[in-house]
């Protein structure tokens, strides 16, 4: 991505380039151990146009780096390579399968007079390893969610099947990476939970139980409202990846009529005698369509042990979305979908308006929102709960933050400091721009606050954060 910097160098414009993906490849050194067979190691390589020898050279360098670091610690090989122009991230998600992501450092292009080519200055310290390392790990998790493990594919259909799957998945997925807007939230990979009163929560739980009882094929269920999770029967790590898929890919692709305008006409989806708003986000777009296809995306969960392959049915009514997961061995047909639609549609419509009502009441009680003196990110490692008032909106294309990118990077730095020791800690820093940034870690919870008051002193900053903790996190103990 190119941005024109507001700084003008003697009337000529500097061009600022944000980090971008240079290449992405996956290899297995065991697949081409002999000389002259190096190409066989490479299972996937983006961009595809790169010349064969160049690919081999780049893979060779990664192998050499990994091997070299094993001299000093055989069990903990290289995670990243920093060079003047780029950073390479290494990830070995399965034994001998290596994923490598090469990100170009941000750079400034300064025009020269007299028609000389512009001077390029690489900003080598801008990229935070933990952020982009996490992005690479997410790549694998997302692949695995929809394709299962590398080794299973190899066992089933050899290198041919594996490379086919990799190409099919990553060709599309890499286009959605948006490396220029990655930040601390990518490190957490958390889940935003919808705050709810006990009554409504129980209603949802009983709804889930009822549906699972009536539709015995349903193995797991997850319930979301407003892109926030309320209930999930999946393992945490699987849910974390599924949540990421739903909120950054699937939901944004189906912009809701109820979001576009409140008074959208009722769609007369008549099931029985009830009007409802339910519809499938995966599978058949319209049940009435005689040519409707009843194909659902497959997902793979619990790959560590039971290795289950499931149909992913996402069904939505207004702001409420439910994922039903059904064993992939079962053939899903029109009959099942109609049954699900007639059972779930009306109930979910009702539930969605209940939640909406409850949500509005709660919001009225807490009073009108005034611009607070601080912005914060909260993350709890135990349940992956995440909350950010820094990120205004997360869409598939870009995550918008309301603070300067440098402050976001300071949050990343503090997070790295926290990761070093397994102790409760607090770090308060004053940036060169005079903004105060506070990080607190207690048990498995982390809180990051950016304060707007520039001329506050340390003691005032402390008071402000205390107030925040009292109002937002009154049940959580943080170090004073």
């Amino acid at each position: 991505m190119l941005m024109i910097s507001p700084r003008m160098a003697s009337g000529m414009q500097e061009k600022q380039y944000t980090p971008s993906l240079l290449s992405f490849f996956i290899y297995n050194p065991k697949f081409g151990p002999r000389e002259g067979e190096e190409e066989k190691k490479i299972l996937f390589y983006h961009p595809i146009e790169i010349e064969k020898n160049e690919k081999i050279r780049n893979v060779g360098l990664c192998e050499a780096i990994v091997q070299f670091t094993r001299t000093f610690c055989p069990t903990k090989p290289a995670k990243s390579l920093h060079t003047q122009k780029n950073r390479q991230f290494f990830h070995e998600p399965e034994e001998n399968y290596w994923m490598v992501m090469v990100v170009r450092n941000p750079m400034v292009e300064k025009p020269n007079k007299d028609g000389k080519p512009p001077t390029v200055e690489y900003q080598e310290e801008e990229i935070i390893d933990s952020v982009y390392g996490s992005v690479l790990q997410q790549c694998y998790c997302m692949y695995k969610l929809f394709n299962g493990t590398f080794s299973r594919a190899f066992e089933a259909g050899g290198v041919e099947l594996l490379t086919q799957k990799l190409e099919k998945f990553f060709y599309r997925y890499l286009q959605t990476l948006h490396l220029q807007s990655c930040d601390l939230l990518d490190v957490f990979g958390g889940i935003s939970f919808f705050p709810l009163d006990k009554m409504t929560y129980l209603k949802i739980q009983s709804f889930v139980n009822r549906v699972e009882e009536s539709l015995s094929l349903v193995k797991y269920t997850a319930f979301l409202y407003n892109d926030q999770l309320i209930w999930s029967g999946l393992e945490q790590d699987d849910m974390r990846t599924l949540y990421k898929y739903l909120t950054t890919s699937l939901f944004p692709r189906h912009t809701e009529p109820e979001l576009a305008g409140k008074d959208s006409p009722l769609r007369p989806e008549v099931a029985g005698n009830l009007l409802h708003y339910g519809r499938f986000l995966t599978g058949p777009a319209n049940l009435k369509d005689p040519d409707a296809k009843f194909r659902f995306p497959r997902i793979f969960v619990n790959t560590e042990d039971s290795y289950e392959e499931l149909h992913l049915i996402v069904y939505k009514a207004m702001s409420a979305a439910v994922c039903f997961m059904v064993n992939a061995a079962v053939d899903l047909n029109r009959e099942f979908c109609e049954q699900l639609d007639s059972l779930v549609g009306p109930q979910l419509t009702l539930l969605a308006s209940d939640i909406c009502e409850q949500f509005n009441i709660n919001r009225r009680i807490s009073g009108p929102e005034k611009e607070p003196q601080f912005k914060f990110i909260y993350f709890n490692q135990m349940n992956l709960a995440e909350k950010s008032t820094i990120h205004m909106r997360k869409t598939s294309s870009v995550s918008l933050t309301s603070v300067h990118p440098d402050l976001m990077k300071i949050l990343g730095d503090i997070n790295c400091d926290f990761a070093r020791v397994d102790e409760d800690e607090e770090i308060i820093v004053k940036a060169m721009t005079d903004y105060w940034v506070v990080g607190k870690k207690s048990d498995q919870r982390e809180l990051y606050v950016i304060l707007n008051q520039k001329n506050a002193n340390l003691i005032e900053v402390n008071e402000e954060v205390k107030r925040l903790c009292a109002t937002q996190f009154n049940n959580i103990f943080f170090l004073d």
């Binding site: 360098l61 780096i65 070299f68 610690c73 090989p77 290289a78 730095d413 020791v421 820093v429 340390l458």
Partner: protein, 592 residues
């Protein structure tokens, strides 16, 4: 005293080999003061073939001749080097290498001839006897170093052992051709394949019109740095910032430059890319080892500032005056050190107008002195390059301890004239005399660092304070002050832990991309505050339960205390003297 008479008393050995420094520290000082060495020329030829010199052996056993030709093949080789447990390749390489050995040494000789300008004057025992300086100590010390000392134990380490991998920080120096020059742990021979891989990585990335900076794993940070024909690599589990590790490598590079000068390193490798620099650095491992220990344990290198021994300003002034009076032409710096901390420094004002001794250069000098007991032997006259001052030329350093046998107070006189030994030695005599009259040594002996309790702030455990260029308009030697580390930081581990905490904060607050003004860090065992303003840089350590309010009060008190004590803690106005350079440059006779 007549000059010719004097050279009779004294063995004057010209070694056309710039590695004088290490040699006068170790086996070679005896080898060269041996009167069997017949002539200067012969000496040059014998240089790397003396029995005590292991280089003949090294040459043929040296398995690294990494020629950078076809990168792709090289990378394949790199992997093999690692996986095949080095056997096949090492054997192959050593064969080809020994074949080249004769050509190699011929070339090396030409390099030696070329660098004939480097001259060292060694002081023979007779001379010391005549002057009656610390003879007892000198003799025993010399005989200690007389027999070639066995290499320190960590040179013999098994580089495949877990204990080798467990070292906190490895440092490697190699030449662009991949030839090992130095390794902190394990012998260079055993590590030659590892170093070959390092060089291959550097040149591979270079071939893509790029520069390798570092590699990160969960355990280690590997930092690469290229300086001229040398490549330096740090493999550290200390979690320091890349910038800090890079600075440390720069210290290592500069220490090598301080012995050889940058110009001669460049020239040597221009002549012969494959040159084995260890020939010139034989014996200097100890100096580099010492430097790396200092880097890990002494915050002055981190802060790029000099630690002064606290001293009543009247005493410091009178010491400065003594130095100011004992001058001779071409003398440029007079430095007095006690307990490895600076007492005072006086500099020439004409020759080095507007320049100052950089802390980094002083650290290298102090390390050099500290790294060898040979300096305690009496008087040493040795060329030394101060890289920050000028990386291409030598100063000539006169180094002598004033309080043998304790050897805590050391005088260093730097001259620009290599022939000035006698006149500079005479300065020392005058300084010694003046100090005796004023009973200065016993006053110095009473001076010591201070306890943090003297500040009188209850929760404060330790601090480091570095003022910037005070007073105004006076380019100062950058200094810092810091109390002794006391409980709970008595053990070596705890001291290292505290230093690591300081290093963390230093790294963040001075981050190249995201510098900060202040860091307040509450951890389980202590609370730390780092603060950088336009006037000073401060790092403080408090007990963990200190409140923010009391920490801020403590800092106010601390700053007030430092202000009150600054005349004692710092060299406030570094004195100068004038030694108009002698135009004839023949200063030998000037001493008398």
């Amino acid at each position: 005293m007549d000059q010719s008479q004097e050279s009779g008393n004294m063995e004057e050995v010209r070694i056309c080999d710039p590695s004088i420094l290490p040699q006068c520290l170790d086996q070679t000082d005896v080898a060269y003061s041996d009167s069997d060495v017949p002539s200067e020329n012969h000496c040059v030829n014998e240089d790397h073939r003396t029995p005590s010199d292991p280089e003949g052996l090294l040459e043929s056993a040296d398995p690294t001749s990494v020629e950078i030709c076809q990168q792709q093949e090289l990378l394949r080789d790199m992997l093999k080097l690692q996986t095949d447990e080095d056997r096949s390749l090492c054997a192959g390489a050593s064969e080809t290498d020994s074949g080249k050995a004769s050509e190699d040494s011929a070339l090396a000789d030409s390099v030696h001839d070329d660098s004939g300008e480097f001259v060292v004057t060694m002081l023979a025992q007779g001379k010391m006897e005549e002057q009656g300086i610390g003879m007892e100590g000198a003799l025993s010390s010399l005989s200690e170093t007389g027999t070639p000392p066995g290499p320190p134990s960590h040179r013999n380490e098994d580089v495949t052992a877990e204990s080798w991998r467990q070292h906190r920080k490895h440092v490697f120096v190699l030449s662009e051709a991949g030839k090992p020059i130095y390794s902190r742990y394990g012998s260079e021979e055993a590590l030659s394949s590892t170093m070959g891989v390092m060089m291959a990585l550097v040149s591979f990335v270079q071939s893509g019109d790029n520069i390798i900076r570092s590699v990160y794993s969960d355990e280690h940070t590997v930092v690469f740095m290229q300086r001229g024909p040398l490549v330096l690599v740090s493999v550290s589990s200390s979690r320091q910032s890349e910038q800090q590790l890079r600075n440390e490598l720069l210290y290592v590079y500069n220490q090598i430059v301080s012995m050889l000068t940058q110009a001669s390193i460049t020239r040597i490798f221009e002549h012969k890319k494959n040159y084995d620099l260890r020939r010139l650095l034989a014996g200097s491992e100890k100096i580099l080892d010492g430097l790396l220990n200092l880097v890990d344990s002494d915050p002055s290198l981190l802060l790029s500032a000099v630690h002064c021994l606290p001293l009543a300003s009247s005493l410091r002034d009178s010491l400065s005056q003594i130095l100011q009076k004992a001058i001779t032409p071409n003398l440029v710096f007079s430095i007095l050190i006690a307990k490895n901390q600076l007492l005072t420094i006086v500099q020439e004002k004409m020759v080095i107008d507007d320049a100052r001794l950089e802390p980094a250069d002083l650290h290298l000098l102090l390390n050099l002195i500290g790294a060898s007991s040979a300096f305690q032997a009496g008087e040493i006259w040795t060329p030394i390059c101060l890289p920050s001052f000028n990386p291409d030329c030598y100063f000539y350093a006169y180094i002598s301890y004033l309080d043998p046998p304790e050897c805590t107070v050391c005088l260093v006189l730097l001259s620009t004239d290599k022939e000035a030994f006698y006149s500079v030695a005479e300065c020392k005599r005058r300084i010694e005399e003046a100090m005796q009259t004023q009973n200065a040594l016993s006053s110095i002996a009473k001076a010591h660092s201070y306890s943090v309790s003297q500040v009188g702030v209850s929760d404060l455990r330790h601090f480091m304070y570095k003022p910037f260029d005070v007073p105004d308009n006076h380019r100062q030697l950058t200094q810092f002050t810091s109390p002794e580390m006391e409980a709970p930081y008595n053990s070596e581990e705890e001291q290292m832990r505290l230093l690591d905490l300081y290093r963390d904060m230093h790294g963040r607050i001075h981050s190249t991309s995201r510098p900060l003004k202040l860091i307040y860090h509450v951890a389980e065992r202590e609370t730390l505050l780092a603060w950088v303003t336009s006037k000073f840089e401060l790092y403080t350590c408090f007990s963990p339960l200190v409140t923010k309010t009391s920490a801020i009060n403590a800092i106010t008190k601390l700053l007030r205390w430092i202000k009150k004590e600054e005349d004692r803690l710092f060299i406030r106005y570094p004195p100068k003297y004038s030694t108009t350079p002698n135009p004839s440059k023949s200063s030998k006779g000037d001493a008398h």
